[in-house]
Symmetry: C2
Subunit: 485 residues, 2 copies
C-alpha cells in the first residue's frame, strides 16, 4: 500500500463571511462550527489515514502563511504543529496549487497517494468517510483520479455536479463504491438541478479528490500546452532547495502559468476519473446563512449566539462575538456583530456580502483586513485603544515563547504584567517583571520579552510616541525567523 498524503487548500480569503472573517483571519480559521477551526477540522479529517501531521500540507499564499501557521501552532494537538506548508508563489486557481503539492509529494515519494481537501468546509466524519477514503485510495492505487461526490439534499444551483456511471465494485470498501465519473456539470439551472437530484445519479462536487500525486502531473503532461506547463513549473519548483521555492525565479515561472481549476484542467478531461457517491453531511459554509447551524433555532426560527436579547423576531440569525445585541421584531434578517464591525442584511442578500467588502476596501477600512486579535508565533495581541499619540494593547505570550529582540524609532512602551512572570531585557539588562509590576522601555532601547514560566504571560502595553505603526520595528534576533515586516 502506498502512503497517504494530503494537501489542504487554504488560500481563500472568505469575503462572504465578513465581518467574522477578515483577509488576515479567513473563514478557514473560524471556530464557531464545532469545537475547533474549520482548517483544524480538515487536518483531523485526514490525519487518521496519513502518517502523522508531516504528511499533510497546507497550500496557501505568502500573505496567509504566517496567520495559518500561527493559528495551527496555537492549537493543543501537536499534529497540527507538524503540518507542512506549501506556499504558492502567486495566487492561481486550484490546478496549479494541487500540481505544486503533487510535485512536492511525488519528489519525496513517487507512489504517494494525495488527498485534496478544502480547508473551509464542514464534513461529517465517521465510518462512511473512512470507507470513502479506503475505497478512493484503492482506486487511486489503480490509477484513478477519484472524487468524493456528496449525495445532494436539494437542487442547489450554486454547486457543481458529477454524474456517476458504471460501478467499479473491485474498489468497494464497506459502504463506499467508486463509479466511473461520467460527467462534470458546473452550476446548473434550477430545472436541471431538480432533475439531477431526482435521478439519483448526480452528486455534488465538494472539491475532495484522491489520486496518486504522479497521476495528476501525468494528466497535465498529457493535456499538453498550458496544462503541461503547470506540471513542468511545479516539478521545477519542487526540485529547488526550500529557500528558493518562493524566490524571484519561482515567482516568475509560476506567474506565467495559466490560472485554471483542477476540474477543468484534469477532471473533465481525463478518462480515468471515478466518483464515490457519499451520503455525508456536508456544507461549503458558503455564506453567513451557515450561521444557522451554530445554535438551535427557537420556536420562531431565530438563531442567536452571544449576549443579548430578542423580542418578537422571526426566521433570523443574530450572531455576536462579544457585545450585547438586542433585536426587536426583525424578520428574515442576519445581524452579525463583532468587536469592531457590525453587519445587518436580509437573509436573501447573504450572497452579496462581497459587495460590502469591496466597498469597504475602496474606503480603505482596516476592518476588511485585520482581525481584532492578531496571532503571532509567540502568542497574540489586541489593540484596546489607539489615538494619534498613544496606543494600548493587551498582549499574551505563551509559556516558553519570546518576542523578537527589537527596537522602535518613534515610540516608548510601558509594560504592566497582569498575569505570569516576564523576563524583560532592556539594552542588555535582564529584569524579572512579576504580576502587578511595570517596566518602562525608552524610545530607541533594544528590548525583548520572554515568558520563561509555565503559565501564559499577559501584559498591558501602553505605547506613547509620534508614530505608532506596526512597521516601526527593527528586529535584531527572532526565534521565528521573521523579517522586519
Amino acid at each position: 500500500m502506498s502512503n497517504v498524503y494530503a494537501v489542504i487548500l487554504a488560500g481563500g480569503s472568505g469575503q462572504r463571511f465578513w465581518p467574522l472573517s477578515r483577509e488576515l483571519n479567513p473563514k478557514q480559521l473560524l471556530s464557531m462550527f464545532g469545537t475547533e477551526s474549520l482548517i483544524a477540522q480538515a487536518v483531523h479529517r485526514i490525519l487518521p489515514f496519513a502518517e502523522g501531521g508531516s504528511s499533510i500540507a497546507i497550500a496557501t499564499n505568502e500573505r496567509l502563511f504566517d496567520e495559518l501557521r500561527n493559528h495551527l501552532t496555537a492549537q493543543p494537538d501537536p499534529a497540527l504543529h507538524a503540518v507542512r506548508y506549501i506556499q504558492e508563489p502567486l495566487p492561481k486557481n486550484t490546478a496549479p496549487a494541487i500540481a505544486l503539492a503533487a510535485a512536492t509529494f511525488a519528489a519525496q515519494d513517487p507512489d504517494a497517494i494525495m488527498v485534496v481537501l478544502p480547508s473551509d468546509h464542514l464534513l461529517e466524519d465517521g465510518e462512511v468517510w473512512a470507507d470513502c477514503i479506503g475505497a478512493a485510495t484503492s482506486a487511486a492505487e489503480d490509477g484513478y483520479l477519484v472524487t468524493i461526490g456528496i449525495s445532494p439534499t436539494r437542487p442547489e444551483t450554486g454547486y457543481g455536479y458529477i454524474m456517476a456511471g458504471a460501478a467499479l465494485p473491485q474498489f468497494t470498501q464497506g459502504t463506499a463504491t467508486p463509479h466511473v465519473a461520467a460527467r462534470f456539470v458546473e452550476k446548473p439551472e434550477l430545472e436541471i438541478a431538480e432533475k439531477y437530484v431526482a435521478s439519483g445519479d448526480y452528486f455534488w462536487n465538494a472539491g475532495i479528490f484522491v489520486m496518486k500525486a504522479s497521476r495528476v502531473l501525468e494528466e497535465l503532461d498529457a493535456a499538453g500546452g498550458a496544462e503541461a506547463n503547470i506540471a513542468d513549473v511545479c516539478r521545477w519548483i519542487a526540485a529547488q532547495p526550500a529557500e528558493n521555492r518562493n524566490g524571484a525565479e519561482a515567482r516568475a515561472r509560476f506567474g506565467e502559468i495559466v490560472s485554471i481549476s483542477i476540474d477543468k484542467a484534469v477532471m473533465e478531461r481525463s478518462d480515468r476519473v471515478a466518483v464515490i457517491p457519499a451520503p455525508l453531511k456536508w456544507s461549503d459554509v458558503g455564506s453567513l446563512l451557515a450561521l444557522e447551524d451554530v445554535a438551535p433555532a427557537d420556536e420562531h426560527g431565530v438563531v442567536r449566539s452571544g449576549r443579548g436579547i430578542d423580542i418578537d423576531s422571526k426566521n433570523s440569525i443574530v450572531y455576536s462575538t462579544d457585545r450585547l445585541v438586542a433585536t426587536l421584531g426583525v424578520e428574515d434578517m442576519i445581524v452579525v456583530d463583532t468587536t469592531d464591525a457590525t453587519l445587518v442584511l436580509p437573509k436573501s442578500r447573504a450572497q452579496d456580502v462581497r459587495m460590502i467588502v469591496d466597498a469597504l476596501k475602496e474606503q480603505g477600512a482596516p476592518e476588511v483586513t485585520q482581525p481584532k486579535v492578531s496571532l503571532r508565533p509567540w502568542g497574540n495581541w489586541m489593540s484596546l485603544l489607539q489615538s494619534s499619540s498613544y496606543q494600548i494593547k493587551l498582549i499574551d505570550v505563551k509559556p516558553g515563547a519570546r518576542l523578537s529582540l527589537q527596537k522602535h524609532h518613534h515610540r516608548s512602551e510601558h509594560w504592566i504584567v497582569v498575569s505570569g512572570t516576564a523576563l524583560v531585557t532592556i539594552d542588555g539588562v535582564d529584569t524579572e517583571v512579576h504580576q502587578n509590576e511595570g517596566i518602562f522601555l525608552p524610545v530607541g532601547s533594544v528590548h525583548r520579552l520572554a515568558n520563561c514560566g509555565k503559565v501564559p504571560v499577559q501584559f498591558i502595553e501602553v505605547q506613547v510616541g509620534e508614530y505608532l505603526g506596526e512597521d516601526d520595528i527593527v528586529r535584531f534576533e527572532d526565534d521565528y525567523a521573521r523579517d522586519d515586516k
Copy 2:
C-alpha cells in the same frame, strides 16, 4: 415686572432611546441633536429671559443628580455651571416636581414667574419663541397659568391637545397672543386627532408652562385633598435648611403625596388657564425615529451617522457612535450601534424599545444602566477592558481639577500619563508625572491626582487586584463633597 425663573424637568430615564440613552446617561444628556445636549439646549432656551443661570433649576432625582451636574459643569458655558438643582426626594409625577420648584422659588421671591420646560425636547429658538415667553409672562403676571401650544403638523395620536378659546389680546406680544384654554385632551383617536388638526383650534401640549410660582400652589390649595397636600409638603420642604430637603422626613412626607401630572392636578381644573398658539418646530424626541433628523437622508431615504457603508437600503436609520456598521439591502429599519450594545428593529417598532430595556433589566444587563463614559466632577473615565483580576481605564482630568484623596483595600494601580502633567501624591509624597511617565500606587496607599496644568491630563490606569468594584474606595478629602459611594 416680576423676575423670571425656570424649572427644567430632568428626572426622566428615556428608556425609549436605548442604547443611546442609559439610566445614568438619559436622553436629556445626549448631544446628537445639535451642537449641545438637549438639557443644555433647554437651559439656553430660557436663559435670555432669566437673571442668569442661578435663576434656573434642574428638577431631578437623587440617582441622576450627580450625572446631570457632572454633565453641565463639563460644558464650556459658565451659565450652565451656575444652575441650581432641586432633588425630588422620591420620583413622583410632574405636579409634585413643579410644586416643589414653585415652593422653592416662591419662598425666595413671592412674585416669581416660573417657566416649566422639559429637559429632553427639541424646540425652535428665535423671535416667535421670545414673543411666546413675553406674552406668557405678561398673562402670568395677571394670574394666568399659561401653556405654550405647538401648532400641530400631523394628526399625532401620542400627544395631548389643548383647545384655544377666546383670545386675550391684552397680553399679545409680537406674533404671540394668549387665548383662553378651553379644553385639554389626552392622546385622542386618529379620527379625532385629524379633526383637531383640520379645525386650527387645537394645539399640542408640549409640557411648557409659564405661571407665577405662587399661583401653582394656590391652585393646588384650592383643589383641596390630595392636591392641597402636595402644596403643603412642598412648602414644608422648601422651608427646610438645604441639608434637610432630601432627608428622612422630607422623604417620608414626599412619599405620601399623590403621584399626579400637572395637567390633571392643575391645568384641567383651573379656570385661569391660557394657551399661546405657537407655530414652532418642536419634537419630543420620543423614540429612535427622532434620529432621522441627525443627518440628511440619501436619495433612498437612508439616514446614516457614523463610520460604515450602506448598499441598497431604503428608508432606514443607521446610527453608529464609534464602530463600523455595514448595511446591505435593509428596508424601514433602525440600526443603532454603540460601543457596548447594538439594537436592530423595524421603524414600526420604535415605540417598543422599552420592552427591550425591561427584558435586559431582568437579565441584569449593565448596558441598561451604565454609559460607556462615566462623568465625574473632575472629568470622566471609561473602562477599556475588565477581567476578574485587572481593569484598564482611560481617565481624563480637567485643568485645575483633582480627584479625591483616596485609598483602595483590594487593588494596586499603575498610572501612565499620555497627555498633560499630573501631580500625584502617594502617602504624602508629591511627584510630577509628565506625559510618557508612569507611577505605581501600591494597594493601601493614600493617593490623589491633581491636574495643576492648563491642558487636560489623560492617563491610563491599570488596576490589578482581587476585587475591582467601584465601591472599593475610601475617600479622605474631596473637592466635590462626595461620600464614599
